[in-house]
C-alpha cells in the first residue's frame, strides 16, 4: 500500500478537567479501508470521534490529511477536508421526507425556489447506486424503520462527496436483518474508495466488515489487529484488558501502520 493514509492521527491527547480522556492515541485510515474502533465504555472512542469531526479539538497531537499537516478546530474544518460523521442520534428531521433530509442545508434551488424534481431524481439515483431499499423517497423519515433511517443518514453524509466517513455505533439499534443490510451498505461505500472509521461494540460486525481493528482502553491505544488473522477472543481480551499488552497480536505491517 503505497498511498499515504487519507487521515492519520498521531499522539492525540485530550483532557476534560481532571480526566485524561485520550493519551497519545494514534490512528490512521486509508482509502477503501474500514477501520473499526473498539473499546469499552469510557475508553475514549467518542472523544476521538469528536476530535476528528472538530466538535471538540485535541489538546495535543498531530493530524495529517493525505500526508499534509492540518488543523481541525471546528466542525467546519472537518467538513471542508472531506470528513463526514454520522452520529448515533442520526440528527434527522422526522417530519421531512427522505429527499428533504438528504438535501437539508444543501437544497437545489433556482432563485430560492426548490427544484424538487431534480432533488428527487438525485435521491433516487443515490438510493439505487447504494442499493438502499426504501419504500418511497417521498416518505417522511419518521415512518422508516431504524435500519432505513440509518441508511438514509449514511447516504446523506455521502452527499458532500467526503473521503472519510465516521460511523458511531451504526448497528446499535438494529435487528439482525437490518444490520446485515447496513453492513452491505458499508462495504458498498468502502468499495467506492471511501475510508471508513466504524465505532462498534459488536465483534460480529467488526469481523464482518472491518479490515483492521484499533482497540482503545482507558484512553490509550491497546492494540491494532488485522481482522483476517485475529480471533474475536483476542479482540475482546484487548478491549477488557485481560491481555495486558497487545503487542503480540499486532499486524505484520507494524512499522507501516504505526510510523
Amino acid at each position: 500500500m503505497a498511498h499515504p493514509p487519507v487521515l492519520a492521527l498521531r499522539g492525540i491527547s485530550k483532557r476534560f478537567g481532571g480526566v485524561q480522556a485520550l493519551v497519545d492515541v494514534d490512528l490512521q485510515v486509508r482509502a477503501g479501508e474500514v477501520v473499526a474502533l473498539a473499546g469499552d465504555n469510557g475508553a475514549g472512542k467518542s472523544t476521538l470521534i469528536k476530535v476528528i469531526s472538530g466538535v471538540s479539538p485535541a489538546d495535543r497531537g498531530v493530524i495529517e490529511w493525505e500526508g499534509h499537516l492540518v488543523q481541525i478546530k471546528r466542525p467546519h474544518d472537518a467538513h471542508a477536508l472531506g470528513i463526514a460523521t454520522v452520529y448515533q442520534d442520526l440528527a434527522m428531521c422526522d417530519n421531512l421526507d427522505v429527499v428533504g433530509n438528504l438535501f437539508l442545508g444543501r437544497e437545489i434551488d433556482r432563485v430560492g425556489v426548490l427544484d424538487e424534481v431534480e432533488m428527487e431524481r438525485r435521491a433516487r439515483d443515490l438510493m439505487r447506486t447504494l442499493s438502499i431499499r426504501i419504500p418511497d423517497v417521498r416518505m417522511p423519515v419518521a415512518e422508516l424503520s431504524a435500519g432505513q433511517r440509518q441508511a438514509v443518514a449514511i447516504s446523506r453524509s455521502l452527499m458532500g462527496a467526503p473521503k472519510v466517513l465516521l460511523l458511531d455505533e451504526p448497528t446499535a439499534a438494529l435487528g439482525v436483518e437490518q444490520t446485515s443490510h447496513l453492513l452491505d451498505l458499508i462495504e458498498e461505500v468502502r468499495d467506492r474508495g471511501m475510508a471508513i472509521i466504524l465505532i462498534s461494540h459488536n465483534m460480529g460486525d467488526i469481523k464482518a466488515v472491518a479490515d483492521r481493528v484499533a482497540v482503545l482502553r482507558l484512553g490509550r491505544n491497546n492494540g491494532l489487529f488485522d481482522v483476517s488473522t485475529v480471533t474475536q477472543e483476542q479482540i475482546i481480551s484487548s478491549v477488557t484488558g485481560a491481555a495486558d499488552n497487545a503487542v503480540a497480536h499486532r499486524t505484520k505491517g507494524d512499522e507501516e501502520a504505526w510510523p
Binding site: A91, C93, N95, G100, V117, R124, R138, M139, P140
Partner: protein, 432 residues
C-alpha cells in the same frame, strides 16, 4: 425504476401536509379509474385507522356542523349568512396563518390577540386623532406588529426565554399599551368610507369577479399539477396518473364555483376573502416550495438536525415571530374594519384571549400540529371555517356568550387531543 407502471409516491412535496402523507403499506397508485379509486379507499382506511386526521375528516365535520345549524335555523346556509361568514373568517384567519408559522417551528405565540388589538388602536389613533393619511397609518400599524414580533423573537431566540413566557408577557404588555393609547379618547370610530373600513365592506358586485377568481384558481392548480407531472415524466420518475389530476381539479372546480355562485347571490366576492386567499396562496408557496420554507419545517422537525445542516436557527426563529406579529397586526386591521371602531371594550375582549383561542383552534383543527413541523397555511381555511361556523350558528340561535366560551374551549381541547393522539399513533407506526 422501482416498479413497472408509473406511479406517484407520496403526494406533492408537502413535507408535513397532513392528508398528503403516505399511508404505510399502501399499494402504489396505478393508472386507471378502478386502481386509483381502490388505492384511495385503501389510503383513506389507513389514515383513519392510524388516527391521522386528514382534511377529509375536517370537511366531514364541517358538513355535519352546517347541516346541524341549517336544521336548527334555515337562515344558516343562506347566501347572506355564508357571505358574512366568508368575511368574518378573515380577521381570525390571518392571525391563525401567523400562528401556523410559529407552530411549525414548535413554538407558540400567545400575544397575537393583543397585538391585533394594538394594531387597530395604533391605526385609529394615528388616522382619526392625529390626522395621519390612512395608508401611512396602516403601514405604521403593520410595522408595529412586525416590531413587536421582533421584540418577542429577540427575547426568545437571543436570551433563551421560553416563547410561551415571552408572549404571555407580551399579551399583557401590548393589551396594556392598547388601553393606554385609547385611554384619552375612549372609543374611536374610524372613517366608514375609508380604506380600512372597505377591507371588510367592499364587495366586487360584478358576478364576473367571483367566477374569474374561481376559474383562475382552478386553472392555476391544474396547470401546476400538469407541469409537475410533465417534469416528473421527463426525468423518468414516478408521477401522478392523469386521472388523479383531473379528479382533484374537478373537486376544486366544483367547490370554487359553488362558492362563487353563492357569493354572487348576495353581494358578490368580498375583498376580504380575496385578500385572505392571496395570503394563503403566497404563504403556502413560500413554506412548501422555497429553500426558506424548508428551513422552517426542518426546525420543527429537529432543532439539532437543522443546526448541524448549517441552518441559522436563531434567524429563522426571530423571523417566525416577526411573521406572526405582522399577520396578527393585519388581522387586527380587519377586525377593526369589521367593527369600524377601536374601543377599550374590544381591546379588553382581545386581551381576554378569545381571538387568540380561535386562531390557535383554527390552525390546529385544520391539521397544523402543536408539536411542530406538520401543517400548512391551507389548514387555517378549513379550521377557521369550522370555528366561525360554530360561532355564527350559535349567534343566530342566540346562544349566550358564557356557553359559546365553553364550546369554543371544548372544540380547541378536542382538536389538540386529536393532534396528540395522531402524533402518538405516528410514533408507534414509525419505529416498529
Amino acid at each position: 425504476m422501482t416498479g413497472g407502471g408509473p406511479h406517484r409516491g407520496g403526494g406533492p412535496a408537502a413535507p408535513g401536509g397532513g392528508a398528503e402523507r403516505v399511508a404505510p403499506g399502501r399499494a402504489p397508485r396505478t393508472r386507471g379509474w378502478s386502481g386509483t379509486l381502490r388505492d384511495y379507499a385503501v389510503e383513506l382506511r389507513g389514515s383513519v385507522r392510524d388516527g391521522e386526521r386528514g382534511p377529509l375528516l375536517v370537511v366531514a365535520g364541517l358538513i355535519v356542523i352546517w347541516c346541524l345549524f341549517q336544521a336548527l335555523d334555515d337562515k344558516f346556509l343562506s347566501p347572506r349568512n355564508l357571505s358574512n361568514l366568508s368575511v368574518d373568517i378573515v380577521g381570525t384567519g390571518l392571525v391563525a396563518v401567523g400562528i401556523v408559522f410559529v407552530l411549525l417551528i414548535r413554538e407558540i405565540d400567545l400575544s397575537v390577540g393583543s397585538v391585533s388589538g394594538l394594531a387597530g388602536a395604533v391605526f385609529a389613533v394615528l388616522n382619526v386623532n392625529e390626522g395621519m393619511p390612512e395608508w401611512l397609518a396602516v403601514v405604521v400599524a403593520i410595522a408595529a406588529g412586525m416590531a413587536v414580533g421582533a421584540f418577542h423573537g429577540f427575547f426568545f431566540a437571543w436570551l433563551g426565554v421560553p416563547a410561551f413566557v415571552v408572549t404571555l408577557a407580551g399579551l399583557l404588555i401590548w393589551n396594556g399599551l392598547t388601553l393606554y393609547l385609547l385611554g384619552a379618547s375612549g372609543t374611536i370610530n374610524i372613517d366608514e368610507e375609508g380604506l380600512v373600513a372597505s377591507l371588510t365592506s367592499r364587495h366586487f358586485s360584478d358576478d364576473f369577479a367571483a367566477y374569474a377568481v374561481a376559474a383562475l384558481g382552478t386553472a392555476g392548480y391544474f396547470l401546476a399539477a400538469r407541469r409537475k407531472r410533465a417534469r416528473h415524466r421527463a426525468a423518468g420518475m414516478p408521477y401522478r396518473p392523469p386521472v388523479e389530476v383531473w379528479v382533484r381539479t374537478g373537486v376544486l372546480a366544483v367547490l370554487a364555483f359553488t362558492a362563487a355562485y353563492t357569493l354572487n347571490r348576495f353581494q358578490g366576492l368580498p375583498l376580504a376573502l380575496l385578500i385572505f386567499l392571496v395570503v394563503l396562496v403566497v404563504s403556502d408557496y413560500v413554506l412548501r416550495r422555497t429553500r426558506y420554507g424548508r428551513r422552517v419545517y426542518a426546525l420543527g422537525g429537529g432543532v439539532e438536525a437543522a443546526r448541524r445542516a448549517g441552518i441559522s436557527v436563531m434567524r429563522v426563529r426571530v423571523a417566525m415571530f416577526m411573521v406572526s406579529g405582522t399577520l396578527a397586526a393585519i388581522g387586527g386591521l380587519f377586525v377593526a374594519s369589521g367593527l369600524t371602531s377601536a374601543s377599550p371594550t374590544t381591546a379588553r375582549a382581545a386581551g381576554s384571549g378569545m381571538l387568540l383561542i380561535n386562531a390557535i383552534a383554527a390552525a390546529v383543527i385544520g391539521g397544523t400540529s402543536l408539536f411542530g413541523g406538520r401543517g400548512s397555511p391551507w389548514s387555517v381555511l378549513l379550521g377557521v371555517l369550522v370555528i366561525q361556523s360554530v360561532a355564527s350558528g350559535m349567534g343566530l340561535l342566540g346562544v349566550e356568550d358564557a356557553v359559546q366560551f365553553m364550546i369554543t374551549g371544548g372544540v380547541l381541547l378536542a382538536a389538540v387531543a386529536a393532534d396528540a393522539l395522531s402524533r402518538r399513533a405516528a410514533a408507534r407506526r414509525g419505529r416498529p
